[in-house]
Every structure is written in structure tokens, then in C-alpha cells.
């Protein structure tokens, strides 16, 4: 005898894309409502204010100014910070708030829960950062004329490409840290500041061990080495574009699928 329910039932289990999309929607609904979003938006727009200030009081070439803001404010600071903050918290907050049980009790693959969250963070971080980068570009180049602004557009596109790659690789890495460790924030901050911030600017071959070195190489920039050490040990030349792209993409894949794989298999006690 078969036990057959006569009630209305979902006809199919949610698919991979549908589950991923719902995860992204959930993340956006929850993240947008978070109290710290306003504060974060202010921080993200601060480089635009800095660009205005430098444009007015220091002058110089619009291209140089944009590159300076792009590397120092966006790539080395905000991109890293936003990926760290949301990459870790998108996963860790669900576990610590114990809301993840609502997701684990649904018929969706556990890997999709983690993968969907990481993809949403990448898209969301990139969307917010690209608005700031675009505004900074306009502030830096428009005063030199519309023709100048359009002639340098390739640099904006390249900058946005690097921001996109940085969001992908860092968010996947910090997402993995969120799955692996119970208290990942301190460790992630040490990595961001100590490793990516400090080691990437050391003399010698140390920067090759950082992700930032390859990201900066895509912009044609090498480690920012200064002082006596720079005299003793010459700074590394930027890596080739193909090598940089390969390292970043392989890194992203390893971190992303590591997070999805471990998230699906690891027993998470809440």
C-alpha cells in the first residue's frame, strides 16, 4: 500500500539557478535593511569626496589622479574591506544568528546556499564599488574636457575589470574563511592588512605570494617599495597580464568551490 498525499505540493524541487537566485534575493533584502549599510555607503563614497578635494586643491593630470584614487582608495582599501566585511558576514551572520536552520530545512542543496551567498556578495559589492569608481573617474577627468574624459574611458573599463576580479577572488576567499572558522573576522583582517596590505609592497619576491600583486599588475603597477630596503632589494616588476589573470581566476575557483564543497559537507551546529 502506498502512502500518497492528496495535498497541493510543489511539483519540482527548486533548481540550482532558482535556489541561487532566491539566496541572492534573500541576501539583498536582509543586507539592504541592515543598519550599517548607510555607514558603509558613506565610506564607499568618501573617495569621491577625496577626488573632488585633490582635483580642486592639487590639480594635475586627471588620469594620474584617477589611478592614484583607484589603487590606493578602492583597490587596496575599500575593495578588500567590503569583500572582507560582506564575504565573512554573509555566511557567518547566518550561522551566528541561527537563521541558517531555515535554509538547511529547505530542499535546496547546501552548497547552493553558500555559493549563492558568495555570488550575491560579489555582485552587490561590485555594484556599489563601481558607482564610486565611476563617479571618481568623472570628477578626475571631466574638468579637463569631455573629449579628454571619453578618450580615457579604456582606463575606467580596465579599473572596473580589476575591481570585479578583486571582488570575486577576495569574497570567495573570505567566504571560505566564514565556513572554515568559527571566529574568522580577526584572521581575515590580519590577512587583509598584514598580508595583502604589507607583504604585497615588500621588496624582493614576497609580493608574488599575495593576490594584490597580481591585481595591481593588471593595472601595470608593481609593489610600492620605498626606503633603504628598496635600495638593498629591488622591487619586483609587475607580472604579465596572462599570468595575473590566470592566478586570480584559479584562486577564485579554488576558494569558491572550496567554500561550496566544505559548506555542503561540513556539519554546522547552531
Amino acid at each position: 500500500m502506498n502512502f500518497v498525499s492528496n495535498k497541493a505540493k510543489p511539483s519540482v524541487l527548486p533548481g540550482l539557478l532558482e535556489s541561487g537566485w532566491l539566496m541572492a534575493k534573500l541576501f539583498l533584502k536582509v543586507a539592504v535593511g541592515k543598519k550599517h549599510l548607510g555607514w558603509l555607503l558613506m565610506v564607499l563614497l568618501a573617495p569621491v569626496g577625496l577626488t573632488v578635494y585633490l582635483r580642486v586643491f592639487r590639480g594635475g593630470s586627471g588620469e594620474v589622479l584617477f589611478e592614484e584614487i583607484m589603487v590606493n582608495a578602492y583597490l587596496q582599501f575599500l575593495c578588500l574591506g567590503v569583500s572582507l566585511f560582506w564575504g565573512v558576514s554573509a555566511i557567518r551572520d547566518e550561522i551566528e544568528d541561527k537563521t541558517i536552520v531555515y535554509l538547511f530545512s529547505r530542499p535546496i542543496r547546501r552548497g547552493v546556499i553558500f555559493g549563492g551567498k558568495i555570488v550575491s556578495v560579489i555582485l552587490f559589492s561590485f555594484a556599489i564599488l563601481s558607482v564610486g569608481v565611476g563617479l571618481s573617474y568623472l570628477v578626475a577627468t571631466v574638468p579637463e574636457g569631455f573629449a579628454y574624459c571619453t578618450s580615457k574611458l579604456y582606463f575606467l573599463v580596465k579599473a572596473l575589470g580589476v575591481i570585479w576580479l578583486a571582488c570575486m577572488v577576495y569574497t570567495s576567499l573570505f567566504g571560505l574563511a566564514g565556513v572554515l572558522f568559527r571566529k574568522p573576522m580577526l584572521l581575515a583582517m590580519l590577512f587583509a592588512v598584514g598580508w595583502e596590505g604589507f607583504v604585497s609592497n615588500l621588496s624582493g619576491r614576497f609580493p608574488m605570494l599575495t593576490i594584490m600583486y597580481y591585481l595591481k599588475s593588471l593595472l601595470g603597477l608593481g609593489p610600492d617599495t620605498e626606503g633603504i630596503i628598496a635600495v638593498l632589494m629591488p622591487a619586483l616588476e609587475p607580472a604579465g597580464h596572462a599570468e595575473s589573470l590566470a592566478v586570480i581566476l584559479v584562486g577564485t575557483l579554488v576558494f569558491f568551490f572550496g567554500c561550496v564543497y566544505l559548506g555542503a559537507r561540513k556539519e554546522i551546529r547552531v
Binding site: 502512502f3 510543489p10 524541487l13 527548486p14 541561527k98 537563521t99 529547505r106 556539519e267
Partner: protein, 312 residues
């Protein structure tokens, strides 16, 4: 969809089930097979109820042994999870969402299309008396409303199995009565329910089939009456307050079933091996008026004392 399973498959079962977290043993060698419309999981705090529920709902994997729902292991079993509703114990939500958004979103994750999820979310809100709070942000809801919302998310998609961890917690008596009625209706509609509580009378109101857990072990299984009988075989304690407690104690000690009487100020505690006869006798003595009995309380309604008896 749906894996058809035979009626011979017992709804809830475990064989040699153990779960430990590091050095802490939450469940130890638990075995049972139970099939009833509503099953109560009874035990004091820390008994292992929530761990067992998390194992049955596929949140956790057994450290040892087997756990199954309708003959299937629940961990990572999407077909099973699609037909199950789970209400967790803790009071945690996506606080920024409205009650409707919360239900609609979680119902969609069962594979229900947008329009269907919207309808089911509204129906669930209505069944749990939350229609007025539909567009209210969750963090503004009262504790009782949050508790009902948690139950609503578990039954919105009309599951075949419903697992509720302490569903009555924080509810007022009216809310509790409504919840009991709702659970009975669900069971009458063919839904198999497993719910936990540490309060015996809460479970007695909805089911007579229980699993009794204590310190990670299964102490008893079956009809609540047989567990009551088991309890009644052990001395039962009744607390009384009366104007003349010493005389009342002396009178009660004349009967064979009264093992002991403790007196303190105007109160006394009677220990009896035949609670029903003793209650009748106390009632007669109260009616006679000589001892002016002011109050009577069964101390053995306290689960802890029940467990003390059963683990001896």
C-alpha cells in the same frame, strides 16, 4: 514529485543513535520506532530533545547509529525535506523582513512558484492569526506573534511531516489553546507531527504517544497513560496546606498506602503509593471540614521528579 513510501515504513525511527559534540554526549544509544499522528518528545532541558529533532530534520548527521523518517535518512535528503516542515526552538528571524516577506521567501525555497508562494504565505498568516501583522517588520512583533510566525513558516507549504521544537514556548493560554487546535487539525488532515516539550501537560493536550528522554537516553516510549502508570508505581508526593497539619498528617498515616508525611509550619507533604485513593481521601477529609485544607498541589507534576523515579 515525492518518494512514495509504504505504510510499513515507520514514520520516525532510530537505531543505536548517538550524537556527540566534542566531549559532550547529547544522545546515547537511542532506539525507537514510532508511528502515530502526533508524537510528543518529552524531557527536561538538556535531555537531548533538540539534538534528536535536528537529526530527524536533517540538520545534523548521527555520530553513530541510524535515524530515519519514513525509512529514509534525512541528512541532505531533499525529497524528504520538501515534504517536511520544521519549527526551530530558538527565537531567531531575518528581523528586517516583514512577516509576509519572511513566509513568502521561505515557501519559495520549497520550489513553489511566486504566485503559489504568495497565496500559501497569506493562508499561513491567516491560520496563525497574523493577517493584521502581515506587513509588519519582524523585530516589531511580540514574542507570541514571533512564535506563531515560526510555526507558520513550517506549515505554509502544507507538509506531510511537521517537526516542532518547543512550539508552545512563550505563548499565552489562549494562543496555546489555538495552537493545540491547529495541530489537531493538521493531524486530522493527514500530517504526521512530532513536537517537543518539557511540560507534560502540554503534550498530554495533543497526544498520548510520547518518547521520554533524559540525559541523552530514551527512558520510555509509548502511550502517555502507561508512562503515567509507571510513574504511579512509585511514591507520589502531594503538598497540602491546612490549619491543623499535624492532626491531618496523623490521620493520613493511618492508611497503608501513605509511606511518609513531612510537616513544616502550616504545610505538609504526603508521600503515597496510591495517589488516586489518596486524592479521594483528602477530598473527603476536606469536605468533612475538620482539618481546614486550604490548598493541594501534586509535586509529581514536576517532570524532574518523574525522571528521578524513572532513572532509579
Amino acid at each position: 514529485m515525492g518518494a512514495h513510501v509504504t505504510m510499513n515504513d515507520l514514520t520516525w525511527s532510530a537505531q543505536g543513535l548517538a550524537k556527540w559534540y566534542g566531549q559532550v554526549i547529547a544522545l546515547n544509544d537511542v532506539s525507537f520506532e514510532i508511528q502515530a499522528p502526533i508524537v510528543g518528545l518529552l524531557g527536561p532541558n538538556g535531555a537531548g530533545k533538540s539534538s534528536l529533532i535536528r537529526l530527524l530534520t536533517g540538520q545534523l548527521r548521527p555520530s553513530k547509529g541510524r535515524v530515519s523518517v519514513m525509512g529514509q535518512a534525512p541528512f541532505g535528503n531533499r525529497m524528504l525535506l520538501a515534504r517536511m516542515g520544521y519549527c526551530p526552538e530558538h527565537d531567531r528571524f531575518y528581523e528586517q523582513l516583514t512577516a509576509y516577506q519572511f513566509l513568502e521567501m521561505l515557501t519559495r525555497l520549497y520550489g513553489v512558484e511566486a504566485a503559489g508562494a504568495a497565496r500559501l504565505a497569506d493562508e499561513a498568516l491567516s491560520r496563525l492569526d497574523l493577517t493584521k501583522q502581515r506587513d509588519q517588520v519582524i523585530f516589531t512583533l511580540s514574542h507570541g506573534m514571533r512564535q506563531r510566525l515560526k510555526v507558520a513558516q513550517a506549515l505554509a507549504h502544507q507538509p506531510d511531516w511537521l517537526v516542532l521544537d518547543e512550539p508552545f514556548s512563550g505563548m499565552d493560554p489562549i494562543g496555546r489553546a489555538k495552537m493545540i487546535r491547529l495541530l489537531r487539525q493538521q493531524a486530522e488532515g493527514g500530517c504526521r507531527i512530532l513536537l517537543s516539550s518539557h511540560v507534560l501537560h502540554e503534550l498530554e493536550a495533543v497526544t498520548s504517544d510520547i518518547l521520554l528522554l533524559h540525559q541523552g537516553r530514551l527512558l520510555a516510549k509509548g502511550m502517555i497513560q502507561s508512562i503515567r502508570r509507571l510513574i504511579d508505581e512509585h511514591p507520589h508526593r502531594i503538598a497540602l496546606t491546612a490549619k491543623n497539619p499535624r492532626e491531618l498528617g496523623r490521620e493520613l498515616l493511618k492508611y497503608e498506602d501513605v509511606a511518609r508525611v513531612e510537616i513544616e509550619n502550616d504545610s505538609l507533604v504526603v508521600e503515597t503509593r496510591s495517589p488516586d485513593a489518596c486524592y479521594d481521601r483528602i477530598g473527603e477529609l476536606a469536605l468533612a471540614g475538620g482539618f481546614q485544607i486550604k490548598s493541594m498541589l501534586s509535586l509529581d507534576d514536576n517532570l524532574e521528579s518523574v525522571f528521578r523515579y524513572l532513572v532509579k
